[in-house]
Symmetry: C2
Subunit: 195 residues, 2 copies
């Protein structure tokens, strides 16, 4: 059943819908993986084993600095791909952690499965192209935003772009994602309510 979610998602991203065989391939080789809260999908230094689609739940991607502080680089909810694309594609050790922030259900495939069954599928080429392009655009905007916007403007921007983040993740996570401290975020919110 959860495969239907993935199939529907892919169909939304590509020009001509998946054929029967392609659907069958997905159903056969994408396997469910459950992660309980706090379990890791990927740890710093590891080579990403999985390419994963989030069916249910929430995950965060982050680094940890010398003092143990988490720096959130990405948040993933339902209908997102979670993983370090670079590490998965190139087999290089990842600099990131990814863990489940809520109990989550993914559909995952390993690199071997990818190479054996998906690598040369036309829909995979189209899908990855679309996704990478979109990711690049978002990141360029984010670079621009972090450079030019104040903390308050960045929050407002996030409220518009990903309101679901604000509902699903606690403030200190959002703060880190936005590149500010939880105290600053708290103060900004207090101030915005006044207005």
């Amino acid at each position: 059943m959860s495969h239907q979610t993935l199939i529907a998602y892919i169909n939304r991203q590509i020009a001509s819908p998946l054929t029967e065989e392609e659907c069958a391939l997905i159903q056969e080789y994408f396997v469910p993986k459950k992660l309980r809260k706090h379990q890791f999908l990927l740890q710093e230094g590891d080579i990403s084993k999985w390419a994963g689609f989030v069916v249910k739940g929430a995950l965060k991607m982050y680094t940890v600095d010398e003092t143990g502080r988490e720096n959130i680089l990405g948040l993933f909810l339902e209908n997102w791909w979670a993983g370090d694309r670079e590490s998965f594609a190139n087999g290089t050790p990842s600099p990131y952690f990814i863990d489940a922030f809520e109990d989550s259900e993914l559909l995952v495939m390993t690199k071997e499965v990818f190479n054996a069954h998906f690598k040369n599928q036309r829909f995979v080429a189209e899908l990855t192209r679309t996704l990478t392009e979109r990711q690049a655009l978002k990141l360029l905007k984010r670079v621009h935003a972090t450079k030019t916007l104040t903390a308050e403007q960045r929050l407002i921007d996030l409220e518009k772009t990903y309101p679901e983040f604000i509902q699903r993740f606690p403030q200190h996570i959002i703060a880190s994602y936005l590149g500010m401290t939880k105290e600053t975020l708290s103060r900004i919110r207090a101030q915005m309510i006044k207005k």
Copy 2:
């Protein structure tokens, strides 16, 4: 002759080298375009007409805020693609300016040419995939850097990653690219020399 530069570049990016016909296609449809210093390749609000490869020269991509300040988002030198991929691909108005910082020579193609002759070439698919992926990785690192590193660390990082930027562009451009003011950059350099 300048087409040879482009062909050599593409060959470096793809797995199996360009065929004769593919080379011929490039020679026929990529046309030289010269830009004198300060001329625009793209202006805010325009739809990007060109996909361009820099054969010689230097360009900058930036936004301009209400007070007229430039915010540099990207710098392009020889053997780079210059352009707003999103605007070119989707036909949406660009939020960016791109202009020549030195007299420059590009090889460009229009969207029509792209659609008519390149869109379905295998090497184009491979090339754009490689480039977009690489761009996404760089941007993710840049997001992380702007969030976690001090002004000094960002400069050191740039000196390692793109030493040629520092040689070719004046400090106030570098400063803006790094997300700091020219004064801060100047002070940091003075301080670093002392050490």
